[in-house]
Structures are given as C-alpha cells and as structure tokens.
Symmetry: D2
Subunit: 341 residues, 4 copies
C-alpha cells in the first residue's frame, strides 16, 4: 500500500485527491496538511468526505511528511510549492507537484510568473501521453488544466506536421478558479453567462507552446480561455490552421483517425469518440475525449477535447503519474466512468 501525503489540502485539488484515493486499492492518504485548518477533520471542509475519512488536517514540516509518505502531492499555490519540493525530494520521497513551479525551464518560469525561483529542480512534465519518461520518475510537475486539454487535443496532428497555427478557444468550469468566492464565481455573475479573461495573456499558453513546440518547433499557438456556467470540465475547441502549401490537400477523416489511434495506442485514458465530445461524459473521470471535423474549405481541422479539469486536468492526472512513478498499472484506481447524467 503506497502511503500518500497531500501538502495543501484545503482546496478543490486536495479534496479531489482524497476522493480519488478513496477509490484506489493500492494507495492510501495518510497525511494532509493545512496550516489554517490544523486539527480539523477533512470532512468539515470537504463535506462529501464525511464518514469516508477520519483524517485531520495537520501542519507538519517537510521532513515529517517525507518520513511518513512514499509519495507526496504538493497542492499549494505557485510560489509556495518551491518551499516544499526540495525538502521532500531530498528525503527520498517521490513528489508530484500540482503547482506551476516546475513545469517550465527556470528562465521561462521566472519570466512568465514574474518571480525569482528560490529552489529550482528538474522535473518530468507529467502528461504521460506525451512524456513516457514519467515511468519511474522521482519528481513530476503536473501540467496545468488548460494545457492538458489543449495539448492532448492536437498533439498527433501537430506531430504529423500539418499545422501552421492552432487557435485554442477553451471553455472551463468555474471550479478551476478555486474554492474561494470571488466576483467571477458569484452565482449571479456566472449563471447564464460566459466570461472571457486574459484574452491573449494567460500563462498556460507558455506550457502549450512548450509541449507543441517539442512536436513541431515552428508551430504558432494562440490561446483564449473562457469560463462557462459549469462547475467541472474544460471543453477545448482547437482551430488547427493548415500550412498554406497543404491547403486542400490534407488527410481525410479516416486517415486522421488512424493518426490519432496510432499516436494514442498506449494511452488508455484517451477516447477518440464519434461526433463531438461532451463534458458530461468525462465528468468525475480521468478520461480525455477527443473528436474532430475537417473544414470543407480544406484549410482547417477543428478538434474538440473534453476533460474534467479537477481530474485529468489536475488530481486524476497526478494519480496517473503516481501510478507510473511507483511501477503500478497506469489505470489503477482510475478506471471508472464519469457520472453522467
């Protein structure tokens, strides 16, 4: 039984890690930290977990956490994770960091997040479908939610070299904004609305650049995020614009399907679906559903992906990484469907 620690357990990703671990036959949460909630049962905050867990929030040092745990998930904000990760790694604990602190090279991180990195380490970018080196790794940087939905949607086609540019238009549920109430998450503002923000400057674009750039160095990426009236889910519409010289001469539907199936043949959580994916079909699950259509003008392929931002976009992918890092089956504890309707 893998002993798991969660550093920063008061938010949605912490709660979701506990929910998912309660379904995992080979791992067990033994420690969850929160300075401000120290001593309180996790069910006080994550009321759905009442009766399932008797754990209480603690406020231990990194060394204490490392001592008690085989794997630690750091689910604290960026800028805080760097206070935990090196200490945990140095004690020999495997770490999956869910913050943004280790997803980018040092200089790119510092420029993008406008801060000095106090404790840089090299981690593996934790998207197993694109990074087989997660297997056996000691330290994994779990990707952002938007980059997960975006990169998985088009990686096979970008890798195949058709694309000049991809315009990502992403629609997220509001749980991505966290557990703290805000103007945006105020029900009268969010209900029956669509909210766009950081129309061209969201930091997750840099992660998408990085991942797609590995597959096709010249690719141009645009990214605009939206929030829609939903709690969970990211629905990504990728407008893939074909290279000028290939316009009108791109593969047909069945050929593109073959490209996807080849690319993802060892990726159990990718489902290529007929028609258009839906958030309902992945809600609560670790699946990434993908569908596409070739524009009749022959200059665009529209690819759509659907994930649960808290699962494949965060805590579920983190557990998928844990499975691979510790040598157990990739799908262990994650092989269940979403909760439609």
């Amino acid at each position: 039984m893998i002993k798991v620690g969660i550093v920063g357990g008061s938010g949605y990703t912490g709660g979701e890690l506990l929910r998912l671990l309660s379904l995992h036959p080979g791992a067990e949460a033994v420690c969850i930290t929160s300075r401000k909630l120290e001593g309180r049962p996790v069910g006080d905050v994550h009321t759905h977990l009442r009766g399932i867990y008797s754990l209480k929030f603690e406020s231990p040092s990194p060394a204490e956490v490392a001592e008690r745990c085989d794997v630690v998930f750091t689910a604290v904000p960026h800028g805080t994770a760097m206070d935990w990760v090196p200490g945990l790694l140095d004690e020999g604990t495997k770490v999956v960091d869910l913050s943004a602190d280790y997803r980018l090279p040092l200089e790119v991180f510092e420029k993008t997040y406008g801060m000095k990195h106090r404790a840089f380490r090299e981690g593996v970018f934790g998207m197993p479908e694109l990074h087989p080196e997660v297997r056996g790794a000691e330290f994994v940087a779990n990707p952002g939610c938007y980059p997960t939905g975006a990169s998985l949607a088009v990686a096979p086609l970008v890798g195949a070299g058709f694309a000049e540019r991809v315009v990502f238009d992403s629609k997220s549920g509001i749980s991505g904004a966290g557990i703290a109430p805000s103007e945006t998450s105020h029900y009268p503002n969010m209900a029956e609305n669509v909210i766009a923000y950081k129309l061209s400057t969201h930091r997750h674009r840099v992660e998408i650049d990085q991942e797609l750039g590995r597959l096709s160095p010249e690719i141009k990426v645009s990214f605009t995020p939206h929030v829609v009236p939903a709690v969970r889910g990211i629905f990504t519409t990728a407008h893939l614009l074909v290279k000028e010289e290939l316009v009108g001469d791109i593969p047909d539907k069945s050929e593109i399907e073959r490209i996807y199936r080849d690319f993802y043949r060892d990726s159990p959580f990718i489902r290529l679906v007929p028609g258009v994916p839906s958030l309902g079909a992945v809600r609560g699950s670790n699946f990434c559903d993908i569908g596409f259509e070739v524009d009749g003008y022959g200059d665009r392929i529209v690819v759509v992906s659907a994930i649960d931002n808290l699962v494949k976009g965060a805590s579920g992918q983190a557990i998928q990484n844990m499975n691979l890092m510790t040598g157990i089956a990739e799908t262990e504890g994650l092989w269940f469907p979403g909760g439609a309707p």
Copy 2:
C-alpha cells in the same frame, strides 16, 4: 463474482447501475436488455461508459436472463416490470425491481396506479434502514426516490411518537423525470426556474404513508414535489408538526440527535450532519445526509435530507439491497464519497 442482469437498460437508472457496478469488486454486469437498442454497445447511449464496458444491449427472454444471472435488476416502467418479475423469480434468480409494481399491497397498487396487476408477488420493501428483512430476501421492491428521502428524514422522530403530521416539501433534480426530452426538461423552461407539479396527488405519497404508518399509524402525511434546476438530487424539507399536547414540551437538540443516532446505529449510509445537508455532498454517492432544527415556537421540527435520486433514490439503493440479499457486506462497492464540487 455475482453475475448481474439489467432489464431495461436504456434509461438513467440502467446507466447508473452500470456505473455503480463498474466500481463493485464482487459483482459484474453480464447482460443488459433493451428491445429498441438491441445490438448496440451501451456506450452509444451512455457515452460516459465508453471504454469501460464492451457490453451490448440484448433482447432475451426472462428465462434466458435468469439462466445467465444471479441477480436481476428490473429497470423498466411500472406496468412492464410485472411482465418480467414472476418469470425471473420462478427460475430462482434474485430480483430487485426498481419499478413501482411491487412496492404496495395489491389493492393499494391497483387504486394508486389505476391499473390491474397481472402478476402480483410479495416483495420486501427495499429500504434496508427500515426493513432489515431485506437481508437474504429473494425479491425486493426498490422504493421510489421521493419516499426514500422523505421516510429516512423523519422515521426516527415519527417512530418516537412526537408527530401529528408531516408536510413534505421535496425538491428534485430533473433526472428523476427520465432520459426522454419533455416540456419540463427543456432547458429554457427548467433553468432559473422552480416547477411544482401534482401539488397534492403524487403517487409517491402512498409509499410514504405506508412507511411512516408502520411507525405511527395515526400520522398524517402531506407531500408536494418540485423540480429545481439540478440534474441529480432530492432535497426534502420535512415540516414535522408536533402533537398538540406536546407543543412546547419536545426533546431538545441533543436528545433528538440521540434518537437519530440510536435509530440509525446500524445504517452506514445515513450521515447526521451538523447544520443543513447539501446535494453537493451526496452527489454520485449512496449517502443520505440529514440535519434538523427545532422551531423556537416548540410546535415544529424542520428536518432536511439530501440524497442523490439516481443512487440512494434508485440504483445505489438497489445495489445495497443486492449486497444484503446475497450475503455480502452492505457497503461493498458503494463505500465512496460523492463528487463535490
């Protein structure tokens, strides 16, 4: 491994049985029927199940189903279940009927549902918290969703003899109305709205009468159902009116808590919560959360319960019944939290 059949698998309760069985270590769906979907993979309709199940809908006879299954769930409409149940029982298969055909005594059924019963049998009313005789039973009639939320909310207090009358005001998610589109379920009609229906004549009232009447024969029951903009869940507000002679002289909060804890001491799925329950905390789970407040006027106790109508109100309770009927642990395959947020 218990082999399970689902008769009538095209609707929400059928899909939910499959979802829940995929999480059950001791049972496995081996057969699912639908005349109109015969031959199609279950993932075509229940798209969240793609990749998890390779089952296809079939259209076998009762005898064939019985032959292949240890337990069969009949998830067909009332009036149709009676065409399946006797045939299945006579072959020695255990049956959990999710329709209304066997929840009431013969005459009460015929009067309430305005039809002749073609094949009556005695079943156990499948609410294990009130009917320990589910354990080992051959045939269980799974309760209605509203009666589950309503009866569990007040059974301890009604049993304790305080109540003159209970006015149930229930708020359901729209999934209770089924998978077929209708005027009521049309998004522009349902969103930002509350819909009340059958203000005084809903058939589920008779089930509540039956269950509370067993605990206190003189109890008066009123019941008004509503639909609110939610997919899953039943939130029941029970206005329990105290007998005139006891007004101002009812137990205090801690005494009432004691009554609940005693009554439900062997009921793992009942959670007595501080404050007011919420649908979010039970969504997707088999829990029934209960909270209450004593009116300062001393003449009313307001009890609130929250369940997921498709789980504790239907498919989850059906599996709980299956567990007890087959002698495995009551919580087997059901001991997981809901999916908040």
Copy 3:
C-alpha cells in the same frame, strides 16, 4: 416629472430601481448615492445601464437629497436607513424605505433585529394589495421579498377563515443575498444544489405573522426559506392546513377561484393562473402569479406564488408604492411583461 433619489445605489435593488425608472414615463432618477463609489458613473457597477444613464454616484446629505427630489428610495441595509429617513421626511420629501427598519412596530423591530431603533416613525406597510392606505401616503415601508410572495399567496384564504396554519416553504433566487460574493453564492456551491438556511428563525416570518394576523388573529405561521440555482425569483409553496372542524368541508376549486378574484379585483399585478405559476413568467416584471390545488384529503390547500424578488419583491413594488403615493396610475411604468424565456 417626478424627481427621484436613490439612497444606497450600489446593490441590486439600487440597480433595479434605475432599470425600472428608465422605463417609467413619469419619473426620473436625478440622484443616486454611494459613499464608496462617489464620483463613478453608475454604469461602472451596473454595467447593463451603460449608455442609458449618465448619472454618477454622489455622497450628499439627507437635506441635499431632499432638496432635489420629490420621492426618495432608501435602499441601504437595516440599521442604516434610520439615519436617513427622518431627515428626508422632515424636509417634506416622500420616502419609500426598502430596508427592514420601518416594517414592524417599534418593540417588534427591536426584538427581531436585536438592536435599538434610533429614529422610529410610523410608516405604511407598502404592499398595496393589502394596504390601500398606501395611496397618498408620505412614508411607506416596503415589505420584505419573502413576506410579499407569502402574504399575497394566501391572504384571500386566510381572510376567509379556513386556515388553522400555513406552512410556507419558499425557494428564492440567490440575488436576494445581495451583490457581494459569499460562500453561499459561490457558483460551485450554489449550482445544482438547494440550500436551506434559518430553517425556523428567519426574520421575515415576523412580517408574515403581522400581515396574516391582521386577517385572522389566530393563524399559525411556519416559514422555511431555501435558495435554489436561480438568480431572480421567489417561488412560495404555501401548505395551508384547514381548521379541524372544516376538514372535508372546504370550498371547491371554482369557489376558491371566486374568493381570489374578489379579493384581488382591484389589484392589477396579481394574476391567478390555471395550473402552477412559474418564475419564468414573472422574471423582470412586477406580477405576482398565483395557482392552487385542493388536497384530495380535504385538509390542505396548496397555494403557489411566483414573483421576481427584485421587482415585486423589492424595487418594482417600491415604484408601485411611489405611483400610489404621488397620485399617478398604479401601473404607470410597470405595465410590461417578464422576459421569458
């Protein structure tokens, strides 16, 4: 043209007063106050009003407001309105107070709100359907949103003497909780949920007691509020329990209809509808839709009312009061339908 001032214009009722006044041919907003927004255009906060109004928030004294306005709406919190009302009245301005400061007799107010009243005056309770003395009044206390939906639903029947008790189970949109984000209004908490609160202790109960007690001194009132996933609207389910001696001997449907039509014959905003009212049909309008059903047991009448909490439950009723106080037609500027779908 009536010159209107709004004291406390940064919240939803202030914004709604402006919206409604923009539709009123005989009145015009000339002044809106907010200390913290002083100098900012109203469209900065109430973005839907951009282009319609060039007003800016001001921070004047009561005397200045009185000087410039014929009628003033005080839309500040309870406890603050009392700092404005006497000063305005003493300058000869008509006042409609939307707070709770003047709805109840002095002692009842002080007990209910747990505070000393610093400046009590007698006002008319501003529900014109029950208080014809609003006509020509100088000072009106605008009712609470819940008491409006509740009292209008059952006043005719309570007045007719059938009722022993009314159990009100009210379902409100979240805009009733105001413009400031909170735990309750956080979208992931509110969406797909029902939230009950103050199960037996909400202060609005006292207003309902007062209004129904005028019609039938012995009536017993219970009241439990809920919030449902909707921005606007209050859907009130009134379970009217018939006096024991009348059980089984109550008027039939058409007789009850006659009672309602008689009672409300001079009330243009009351619509007695066939079937069950819906929030969609009143959204954005000043109508109160009412429907009912007689329970087959002869001991209960279920009455349902639907209002828009920000219009008939607040700002619309305030303007209806203004019309009557200033001698113009009751429906002036308010005779438009809601915005369905």
Copy 4:
C-alpha cells in the same frame, strides 16, 4: 400608431416580438398567426404575456394580414417564409422577414439551404449598422443571430484592412434552438456542459462571409458554434489574425478604439466597453457590447461581442429595422437596459 402583424407567433421570436412591442410607444401588435394554435390566447403559450395582451392566434391569409397591418414580421421557418413574403409585399405592406429565405443571393441561398427558392425577391440585409439602406426600405431580411454577433464584432477592423482571417468561436444560449424540446435542450444534457455542433459547416458562416466580404473581399472566415448552459445570449470570440506583412506593426489599443468609435458613431446600440463584455449586461436588451485585446505577439486581435440572441440577434433588430423603415427614431421602443443581474 404603426399596426403590426406577426406571422408565425408560436415560437420564441414571436413571443419576443410581442414582449418588445408592448414596450413600444409607436407600434402595436394587431394580429398574430399560428395555424395550430388558432383561437387560443397568446398568454396560453407565452405565459409571461398574460394580462398584457388579449390577442388570440389567428390563421388568416397573407392578403388579410396585409390589409390590417402596416408592417409584418414573418417569424416562420426558412422555406415557409417564401410562401408569405411576396403576397404581403404585393399588397403594399412593409415586411421584415426573420427567416433565412432572403438573406442571401438566390444561388447562394439555394446552394446553402439545399432547396429551390419558390419566390425570390431582393431584400435589404437588415443589420442597420452595416446597411444604412434599411432606412425607408420596403423589405428587409433580418440577419441570423450568429452573423449579427460576429459581423458587428469585427466589421471596423476588417474594413480597416488588417485581417487575413477571422476565426469565430461563438457560444450561444439554447433558446436559439427554439421552443421545441430536443436531445440538446434536455436539461440533463445541457446543464454543466458545452455542446459544439456543425464544427465547420453551420449555414450562418455564409452570411458572415457575405457581410465581411463586402468590407474586405479577400478575408478568410472560419466559424464554429457552441451552445452553453444559458437561455439567452450569444458570446462571440473573434480571433482576428493579422496579415503577415502587418505582424508586429498593428495599431495600438487607443487607435483601435478610435477605429471602432468612428465606424459606429451613428450606431446607438453598439457599446464599446472597457474590459470584456458579458451576456448579463445585454440580456433582454438590443445592445451589442464589444471589447478587445491586442495579442502581445502582434499577430492577433481578440475581439469579443455580447448580444441577446432573441433581441439584437432576432426580434429587437427586427423592430430596429421597422423603426428605420417607417421613418421613426431608430431607438424608439428599444431604448432600455438589459435585466442584470
């Protein structure tokens, strides 16, 4: 007083025309047709209109309608409008057709809609901001909802010649799909979801091509529609890709603002807003709110527009056209704010 007829009044656009006309001081609905609802009061279907209108649905001939009306709105499906329009025009009635039958040149229509046109006439494309010739016209073809939001968003920039291509990613409320229940509009399918459809083949693309092509013949247009959990509204995200030779050399924010203000200086319903528009601010109103951001890479301008699909996207724009056709002020009866929150 302009006498108005509505042909095809059972749907959402018919109901919305009635709602808007009830607010119009210079026009009055005198006739509304529906074959299947003949004889029934409009309030039976459009329940929000109860008490406001005593009109009943009729089933008259085009000649009878023309006789009684100065202006007729045809709000029937495409393919049916062509049975009405010529008859009405030939009787000298002004017509605003809300169907797709007259928005495109004959051959383009026939190709796009896959049908023979039985009665073609030349109409003015009824988007007054781009078509000043609406003023005084006899026959206007009211634009589609998506093309309205899309064309207004970028017309000034496309006209200014920066754009190589515009990728439109539109998010609509479900009321655009009409009053009839469907799989898509089924609440459990729509709530908490995003539904993309016709990823590259929606017919409205042809209208956008037409309108933007008038401003810049070489412009490339891509269009993908989505439905989000909202009743009303279209939120259009326009990813405007700059011509290669201009990359890095495009106007700055204030210059772009100037371009918009110039272009729309005579367009009262266009509001250029600071930040990002929101559906809430336009809900129920005829405004089109527009905001934008220049991508830091200098190769993209992201423009966002928000309209109410039933008002500016259909019935409101139709009344705006009527005003201009009949020589009254463009804003008459339409100068009111949306209904936030």
